[in-house]
Symmetry: D2
């Protein structure tokens, strides 16, 4: 990192700015991330939950929060300032925050472009929370049915225009849209993969914070490889799986065989409704089961339920019941109850990931960024236990620091 | 393995045997450890909960379970076979086990020597579970009041005789007696320190599985140093603190500030009664608090209760309530409930420690054995998080393997 | 009640005896009930969980436990003494009990008659726990395919022979077989209804302790009415629904609106496997939901899961999560965790019901016995709250006492 | 409503108004009750948690919420509108409520009179939440030390003036101050008893919503009797004890012996701090234990902890662990976790009680009002189970209705 590297991020007013393009930009997670970033940048709130703001990432050359610029795709039309007020009513955002960061929310909202319907199909990415509301009209260019290629081109053009108009050093695309059902027969790309393909086409690093397919589609394999872009995924680890990734290793290390690991998740909001769809739940649960199988050496008995409970709004409760064997066959039980706000758990991870992947791109990293398993239920690479993932994250920080 | 290395443990009939001398040898933990070792040695039971029987310790030269010989001190007179039957009734040991390992229990019982009363004081180490029963009569040698030196000499003589009579390569002393109150004014040694001093005097490695003082008394500092013996402690990590040592690092790594960590332990049996004594509870809680302070960087709000609930017998329940902050000041909660059998949690750790410390002694280790924080609430050395402690344990295994 | 009433139950050796005929007589509940009755009759065990042994039923003229005679139908062939040993291994029955009551178990086993296969279909009532074992061969009389009528006749003949051979005052039939799926299209009677029809035909009072159809089939309506026999049902209330029947009224009386009531049941054993079948689960859940709807005035949000977790054996865990509103819209939560042994919860209720219904029959009661909602998830009559059901049960006791 | 029945409350503008005088009028409970009453009276909020607003009390002639006038004593000086804003920040009151009911809060605040210091002693009723803030100066009349009689006279004068100045039909005094320690040696009246004596002297019905002594002091016995005033108490039943009063009867009715009932309460705010004082905790726990002893026939094993956890603010969490026996000695467990907002649980009960006791006074009731055990941990009269208390409350409603 030298003087002649114009993209070096600093806190100064002349430093290059970095784009964060959110697929599902008017959802709860995106709105919380955008509002929260503004609140942190102005010093209104402490950076709770953001690992990139701790000493662990000091000197790593990450783009500062003050230099992030937000935009995104969404099919919902409710403007971000209004979405933020809804989140206040739901107890997600603190009172007064939307007013305090109104300018930043409005600025981001101006860069939200419509996600579009597939020809003859349902609208893309329609979040349950928006169901029944009028969706964003498509631009004039898309008055006819758009095919996959046309959609990808259109999305990529949105990304390119965003980066150019804001004179951004780069733009990281982060998928925070509602989980889509399991992909079909391979002929058509699921929506998340269309957006991912657009990121590749526009030269943007890509983060998949959901269990949706995204870049993990065979049709995109060649494009991923040849793009030399960094990417990371998938499915942000925000609650039950986070716990499992520290508890399962404990049982393994103590040589205590887990006989059954059962769990129930209650959540409302858009996520609850989306995950009530069997395909989406299956996608989600695959990641949750992997953490058990990988850490315990085998998948124990037990089911995992995801219930849509609208009364809980954006708050979720996860109950886990672990039946394990002790010495001489004694039967023991661990139960955990995790009660948290889904968006508040996810948003700081989204900001962390956008900053790290942006910096990895700057540093020339290609392919799956190693060391990000800490953030994901179903990581591309690395160990399945949180302690191991933490060490890998620290290694990644070391590499970035060395490159800075 | 060669002829000229007589102490190297093997499973063969001619291999040297190792002594395990338990302070509190007729308590629940000791009885479970002795009965369990016999059950495992004969293949009746799998080695659940024993890390030293996993691949992690393969090739480390640990004394095999078949070559351990048990003895100990206790003031209780109930023979081990009968104690084992009591533990069956309490659901700790499986039915049929006492009969199946009667010979081993009787053999160990024959090597249990009386712990003795201090002059004018109450009997040493009287476990609550034995209160009201006649305690073991003292031998003819102690018909007058015994002073501290006389007691230490007497205990050391018991150790020396046990080692000599059984032609043992060495004897590890493990304190599994009921927790004693906080030490007084320093002039008199608490009982646990008398036994620890006897171990030093008899040249025996020492493990303190309780929060009692043991070797941690200033009067013993010089003797510990000059003895060049390995030792380990203190307070076995069997439940709530085990959980805390994986959960607290998770909060720290995720930059989620813990505002309050509250807990309640319900346990019956001798341990519950002993810990209902304020001094003993304070000793126990100090270790439990340290794991939070060390992992979180500061001690959060919240109290920790240890309740004696005789109805629960040897089973214990620990409830933890963790209030932590999320992004933008959201308030979140984690609760855990741990239900286990105390003796079944402790016994495999006791066997692990006896084997590892015996091997460390054989390998020439002196002082606090590094890498055993995995087993203790309040370890002498090393990190406070279980993942870090696991790595150190694996390093220790590597050193032992290299020395084998 | 006078000298000339030969059926008056007394504890004396000459008092008339009462038959208890269990459909599913070799299952866990039946085995526990039969073994437990013998243990109580001999004074080996206190009558924990039996309301009919409390002062509330003193002087009601119930048949004493010493005068109950057991028999039943089952397709499983494992003899009761062996089943009892299996329940010891599973922690359901105390060690030593099967040996102590071997005579009673063997006597009951001698009166267990084979449940039979439908023509061309699978065996009736094959419990999951017996799957794969050879089922009882049918008698010579049924070497051809048996139609419904033939089956009912055969079952009724078994009942009549049992009553006659033992010189019983009467025989109460109690269905404790595994839950069957939801009934089909009405043309064929489900197995539980065949047994219920046989009870009617043999003049026996009938208790349906399961959610299966039993007498609640339109085809049987006329026979039920004309029989003038007492009956009771359905689906024994042993855990989660018991709790709900006291907690839901509390919310209603305190004017605290319940927004969502979610629950998960983990259970192994035959019941877990049977209820993993969607039809059976739906039948079970209908009763569980009714208690909420009836007590709260409407059915709140929330799902109910029944998971088969074989590792738990006969022990079950039920977690409930209740989200309710407080004053000025504050959001509050109640969670409950119920951990119990299913058979030990059910068996005393089975004995209570058999005794009460036998006495009701003696007293001339016809139709659904009023006042037994205390015992059932989905009672035929009466209030939905446990306190109201308790009052009705006490009223019933009063009526029986008055008739004695 | 006719001329000759001047006190009959109606919703009309000319109906007599009823005073509610709160001891601890600037505390969380009082502030929530006053703000909430205004919000309900204006239709801004539904009457969640208020039994007196359900059909159960229709036609009973209770004073309508629109005709309640609030005042009280307190040593704190923070005005009610500001206190309400603090409760918004703590998540107790909804945003916007203080502004919407500012007039009512300010009006009540104008009637709050200073509680006074005992001669040479600490200020009366200083709530922990106000500690360190300047307390209200006493009026000119009290520039010398006030003795007990002088204090009682002064408080009674405040009550009389309030009733007269507002032309109230009557004023009910409700103690919602922080719990005081156990009373001393009987010579001096505790603060709560001074206020209770003042109520008697001013002819006001009295409700003790706390475990403090209040009217239950031998010195006051004669005055209570001769006053012919209605009173009710004590210690509002808002959470853990509410649950226990429905769960304990369930165990008793099902003949399931409870072996141990253990509990931990975590709460912050003023109540947590006050109850951390051992005397106050003991007073609180006495009521909580009584509900178990009365319902179960004996007090089971188990302790009850009340922890001050300031991080929880006004929210409280109560964990209960119930170990009970099942059939044939099986061991079972019920656990409950209750998470609620203390003030939001208490405030509707305070309003209910004030209205009912006012109406009872109007109807000529003297002494402990029968039928109010539903509201109290430690009621003066009646059964200990909530279902029985509910029936008695309905009987009371019937009596009031008949008298209306």
């Amino acid at each position: 990192m030298t003087q002649d590297h114009p993209n070096q991020p600093t806190a100064g007013p002349d430093a290059a700015r970095t784009g964060v393009w959110l697929i599902g930009a008017r959802g709860s997670v995106a709105t919380t991330a955008i509002a929260g970033c503004a609140a942190l940048a102005s010093g209104m709130q402490p950076p709770t939950g953001m690992v990139t703001e701790t000493a662990a990432f000091a000197g790593c050359g990450l783009p500062p929060l003050t230099r992030l610029v937000f935009g995104g795709h969404d099919t919902a039309s409710c403007p971000l300032p209004k979405r933020a007020e809804q989140l206040v009513a739901g107890g997600v955002l603190p009172h007064g925050l939307p007013a305090a960061v109104h300018a930043e929310l409005a600025a981001a909202d101006a860069y939200i472009r419509p996600g579009g319907p597939l020809p003859g199909g349902p609208p893309l990415l329609l979040r349950a929370e928006d169901e029944g509301r009028p969706t964003a009209p498509l631009g004039a260019a898309s008055d006819g049915p758009r095919g996959e290629e046309e959609l990808i081109d259109s999305f990529a053009a949105d990304l390119t225009a965003f980066t150019r108009d804001n004179a951004l050093a780069r733009t990281v695309v982060v998928n925070v849209a509602s989980t889509e059902g399991a992909p079909g027969d391979g002929d058509t790309l699921p929506p998340s993969s269309l957006y991912a393909a657009a990121a590749l086409r526009a030269g943007c690093p890509y983060v998949n914070f959901t269990p949706s397919t995204g870049l993990h589609h065979p049709v995109l394999d060649d494009a991923v490889r040849s793009s030399r872009l960094p990417h990371a995924g998938r499915d942000g680890k925000t609650g039950q799986t986070l716990l499992r990734s520290v508890l399962a290793p404990m049982f393994a290390q103590r040589a205590l065989p887990v006989r059954a690991w059962s769990g129930t998740n209650l959540l409302g909001g858009g996520d609850g409704a989306a995950l009530a769809e069997p395909g989406a739940a299956a996608a989600k649960n695959a990641g949750k089961e992997r953490v058990l199988a990988d850490n315990l050496g085998r998948l124990p008995e037990g089911q995992l339920h995801i219930d849509d409970v609208p009364a809980l709004g954006d708050w979720k409760t996860a109950w886990d019941h672990v039946a394990f064997d002790g010495f001489l066959g004694s039967r023991m039980i661990l139960q955990t109850v995790w009660q948290g706000c889904d968006s508040a758990l996810a948003a700081p991870l989204v900001l962390d990931l956008a900053r790290i992947v942006a910096r990895a791109h700057e540093a020339g990293t290609a392919g799956a960024v190693e060391g990000l398993g800490f953030y994901f239920k179903d990581p591309d690479t690395g160990p399945a236990d949180l302690p191991g993932q933490w060490r890998e994250l620290m290694d990644l920080a070391g590499r970035l620091r060395a490159a800075a």
